[in-house]
């Protein structure tokens, strides 16, 4: 057993689990109390995750805040948490999105208790994947984070919610149907009788063939959740169907879980498989970027627009990982973070507009900047971030990825950059049609975002701008993990 002086990571997990239990024991009718409890516990999780990000010792590097407890001896399973430069941004992202998500759902009135209970269960799983260093626990947390999606979307969602929920759940669990054999394959073939990631990632544990084989299983399994083309079709449908906070958590955090799984499990354990399959990864990622941009162009539903832009943006993450370079990895992880915050802002502002106008069809809206200037403002900031405007976080992420992609794969890199222009086009078109142009009288009486409801959006905007102005804060942390990793490659 091994513990840092204070188990911060377990505290984050506990804040979710305890929050869940407390909510379960509050009667249904005490809606306000449930919301406050959720807010407090999500606040604790957020503060802890931000604290960790800044408390991490960059000069020392490696895995820090290690917590290790023997769980099942005969199978070599440990409860083993630790963070490094890759997981810190993800933890912080999860904390921020959870907190703002809870605030965004402040006006929820139906089945409040169940909503927040499921949300906490989901987020506990997400935190768990990001901090766990044991393959068994990674898989457990991964599945824990997936199945609450079904009730969350199917009960509180909109637009073909049951179809969307079912499609999403089946797709993602089909992914885990590939992951578990992959993990077990590695476990058995290592001959070490341990699920410990740190032990298994020692060079020479697996033969090149084993790495190639396991990598493709794990890549496809986690890739489904990361929205890798052509397995992305669940994602726009699911995003559209989900209620606002769930869309935020889902597009903002859960899709990153897939990309992070590829990084943490597939790439860490099978680096040779990674180099072998990098070409394929790059092709799929480029397809995703181009495809997402063009399909987004044709959408008339605001949430579908964001859904397809997510596919495109997650393609950028994939492309960054496929370059097998330090810049590429930095860009990919940075993009995961930036895209997470940005989509959360997107869905948060669309959610508000939809709540008030009861439509998210672009032709039915129009001139919203005059009826709801503040709500529109948030959306426009998100759109600008999505395009990759300088001074916003995504800019740096995309820049890093594209530079390294252009160096490694000139043609695919060029294609991806062209697609970026298309995505800029469709974002601007959406902004122009929805927020400018003819004002519609039927929305005149609708209130704009109040200060209280604006808080979550403000936090998200502040994060985007902060990391846009000071990208080195983020990149320095990621580098601590990526440089040694790339240098250690065989």
């Amino acid at each position: 057993m091994e513990f840092a002086n204070f188990p911060f990571l377990s505290a984050i997990l506990l804040s979710c689990v305890v929050g869940l239990l407390v909510i379960l024991f509050i009667p249904d009718e005490r809606k306000m109390l449930i919301k406050w409890v959720s807010l407090v516990f999500s606040g604790i999780a957020m503060v802890l995750s931000i604290y960790l990000f800044f408390a991490y010792d960059k000069t020392k590097g490696g895995f820090q805040f290690v917590e290790k407890v023997l769980w099942v001896k005969s199978l070599g399973i440990n409860y083993h948490n630790a963070v490094d430069g890759f997981s810190l941004p993800m933890l912080m992202l999860t904390g921020i999105v959870l907190f703002t998500g809870v605030l965004t759902m402040w006006e929820l009135e139906t089945r409040v208790k169940e909503f927040f209970a499921f949300t906490f269960l989901l987020v506990a799983g997400v935190f768990g994947v990001f901090m766990s260093m044991d393959l068994f626990f990674i898989f457990v947390w991964y599945d824990v984070s997936l199945f609450p999606m079904y009730p969350l979307i199917a009960i509180w969602g909109s637009t073909r919610k049951e179809y969307g929920a079912m499609k999403l759940t089946l797709y993602l669990l089909a992914g885990s149907a590939l992951i578990l054999p992959g993990i077990l394959y590695l476990f058995v073939n290592s001959g070490l009788n341990t699920f410990n990631l740190v032990t298994l990632m020692q060079p020479g544990t697996f033969t090149p063939f084993q790495q190639k084989f396991a990598f493709i299983l794990l890549y496809l399994g986690f890739g489904i959740l990361a929205g890798v083309w052509p397995f992305h079709t669940w994602s726009p449908v699911g995003h559209v169907a989900a209620p606002t906070a769930v869309s935020m958590i889902h597009a903002g955090v859960l899709m990153k879980l897939g990309a992070f799984g590829v990084l943490r499990v597939a790439i860490f354990l099978c680096p040779e498989g990674w180099q072998y399959w990098a070409q394929l990864m790059a092709v799929l990622a480029t397809c995703g970027i181009v495809y997402g941009a063009f399909v987004g162009l044709a959408q008339t539903d605001l949430k579908y627009v964001i859904g397809y832009s997510s596919v495109s943006h997650m393609g950028i993450v994939g492309l960054g990982l496929a370059t097998v370079t330090v810049e590429g990895m930095n860009g990919a992880v940075f993009q995961m973070f930036a895209h997470g915050v940005m989509t959360a802002l997107f869905f948060s502002s669309v959610g508000y507009i939809y709540d008030k106008t009861h439509t998210k069809m672009i032709p039915e809206l129009g001139g919203m900047s005059k009826t709801m200037p503040v709500a529109s403002g948030y959306f426009i900031v998100a759109a600008l971030a999505g395009i990759g405007v300088p001074c916003l976080a995504s800019f740096w992420a995309e820049l890093l990825v594209f530079i390294s992609a252009f160096k490694t794969y000139p043609i695919r890199g060029a294609l991806a950059i062209c697609a970026l222009v298309v995505s800029a086009l469709f974002m601007l078109r959406v902004v122009q049609r929805t927020f400018y142009g003819e004002k519609r009288d039927e929305f005149d009486h609708l209130p704009d975002v109040s200060f209280g409801l604006g808080i979550p959006r403000m936090i998200l905007v502040a994060v985007i701008v902060f990391f846009g102005l000071f990208p080195s804060v983020m990149i320095d942390v990621i580098q601590v993990a990526s440089i040694p990793f790339i240098n250690g490659l065989p």
């Binding site: 769980w71 001896k73 898989f139 457990v140 089946l170 149907a177 590939l178 054999p181 077990l184 058995v188």
Partner: protein, 473 residues
């Protein structure tokens, strides 16, 4: 310690049977008295089984062995029996004057299964198996006139009798090849001759009798009709305790081979894949909850076989763990079935609509149980699947594991349909709140706790299962 003390759990069951036999003689039916007597006796039964878990020895000229393997299964059977009796507060599916008989045959069936898991001699195995089957042949058509019960009873009897005949035929082959009926001797002889057609045929035909119990493809035909046709409590028993005993005896028989028959492995792999796939695909279209659980049990038989066909101590241990997990999850499902269909009728999945409002605790228990059956963490069902798959992977059956995982994903569809009914759909006509008594709540909560706690902390049960599996070799 006297030798007869090894036989205490079985003797106790016999005693219970005598008590119920006496109650059946009383002229005036009194369901409440019968229920409380049964509950009291069954709970003592669990204690007795637990108390005798450490016993070891053999009886009846070595035909009967008491060891950790058998005692662990006896505890499971006693618990299964107890939990099924707990579900009998409103035994509306069965006529009041038949209640003592119902308990009597449940008891004899439990007794027979306890004997089955301890038997190490082929004829004793056969006798024990038949005793349990005959008890169930009577229990199934005992249901109060729904018409379908007779059909189910006859179907069960026909399929059961056929598979018994096949099994006897197989036993004769085994005897012919090994010249003994003692498992202890067979275990020495069989691995040397397992390559011969007669030995492998004999073993496979013998296994057919147990596959019938477990409802493995192609011996599954009875399951949907019997599940639907029998009274809910009887179905709960068939689906839980009876399956556990079948797993035990299949493990015992397969372990005879000593793990070096590729041919047997191939057959078991085929049956396992066929069971999983067939069960899962057909379950998708079911409208009746019990039929759905029947097809799900067929697919779970396939998952258990994966652990068994690994033919390693870890494989057998994983199968034991899986059997226990399956017992708990399934009883939890049936608890909900029994409580929602309080008049003892069949339960359509659509009738679950609005359950989250009618009884939040039952809805939550149902959700956890079906997600457990689907193999979602952090439930015991996931841990079971994980162990089973690990054992198979150690033998290098990666294709089998992938097929099984794909099957688990398919199964998720219909399990989610159940959750959807309970949490999403609203009934057409407003239904009243379900009156869930405090003991039922405690029972539900403890089943849920077992599912989650042993899913998260499997170490203890896993060690027990491993120790039990070591007894086989």
């Amino acid at each position: 310690m006297k030798l007869w003390m090894l036989f205490i759990p079985e003797l106790y069951c016999l005693l219970m049977g005598v008590v119920f036999f006496g109650l059946a003689m009383v002229a005036r039916p009194n369901p409440r008295r019968d229920y409380f007597v049964a509950l009291l006796l069954a709970s003592i039964g669990v204690v007795v089984a637990l108390a005798s878990v450490k016993l070891e020895g053999s009886l009846f000229f070595e035909a009967y062995r008491v060891d950790l393997f058998s005692q662990v299964f006896k505890v499971m059977l006693a618990m299964g029996f107890f939990l099924v009796v707990c579900l009998c507060t409103e035994l509306n599916g069965i006529e009041e004057r038949h209640h003592p008989e119902f308990y009597l045959f449940l008891t004899t069936c439990t007794l027979a299964m306890m004997m089955l898991v301890s038997s190490v001699e082929l004829l004793t195995i056969y006798v024990a198996l038949e005793l349990s089957s005959y008890s169930l042949y009577i229990l199934v058509p005992l249901r109060r006139g729904y018409g379908i019960d007779v059909e189910a009873g006859i179907k069960y009897l026909m399929v059961g009798a056929t598979s018994s005949a096949v099994m006897l035929f197989g036993l004769s082959f085994l005897f012919g090849v090994t010249h003994t009926t003692y498992v202890v001797d067979i275990i020495h002889v069989l691995p040397n001759v397992i390559g011969t057609p007669a030995a492998i045929l004999g073993l496979l035909l013998t296994l057919c009798g147990f596959f019938f119990k477990l409802a493995v493809f192609p011996f599954h035909f009875w399951a949907p009709d019997v599940y639907q046709g029998a009274a809910n409590q009887v179905t709960a028993y068939i689906a839980s305790a009876s399956k556990v005993a079948a797993v035990a005896i299949i493990i015992r028989m397969v372990s005879l081979v000593g793990g070096n028959s590729q041919y047997l492995v191939d057959v078991l792999v085929t049956l396992s894949i066929a069971s999983m796939t067939l069960g899962n695909l057909v379950a998708i279209v079911q409208k009746d909850m019990k039929r759905l659980l029947a097809y799900s049990s067929i697919s779970h038989a396939g998952y258990v076989l994966i652990g068994i066909l690994s033919m390693s101590p870890t494989g057998y241990a994983s199968a034991i763990f899986y059997a226990l997990a399956y017992l708990v999850m399934n009883l939890c499902c049936f608890l909900v079935v029994v409580k929602v269909a309080q008049d003892g009728s069949d339960l359509k999945i659509a009738q679950l609509a609005g359950l989250h409002r009618r009884s939040p605790i039952l809805a939550m228990a149902l959700m956890l149980a079906v997600f457990g059956l689907a193999g979602i963490p952090p439930t015991i069902g996931f841990t079971g699947k994980f162990l089973v798959f690990t054992a198979a992977m150690e033998k290098g059956y990666i294709t089998l594991v992938i097929i099984a995982m794909i099957n688990a994903t398919i199964s998720l569809y219909y399990y989610i349909m159940v959750v959807k009914a309970a949490y999403l759909l609203e009934p057409d006509v407003a239904q009243p709140q379900l009156a869930v008594s405090v003991p039922t709540k405690v029972l539900t909560a403890s089943l849920v706790a077992v599912m989650v706690v042993f899913g998260v902390f499997p170490t203890y049960l896993l060690e027990v299962a491993r120790a039990a599996a070591r007894m086989l070799l």
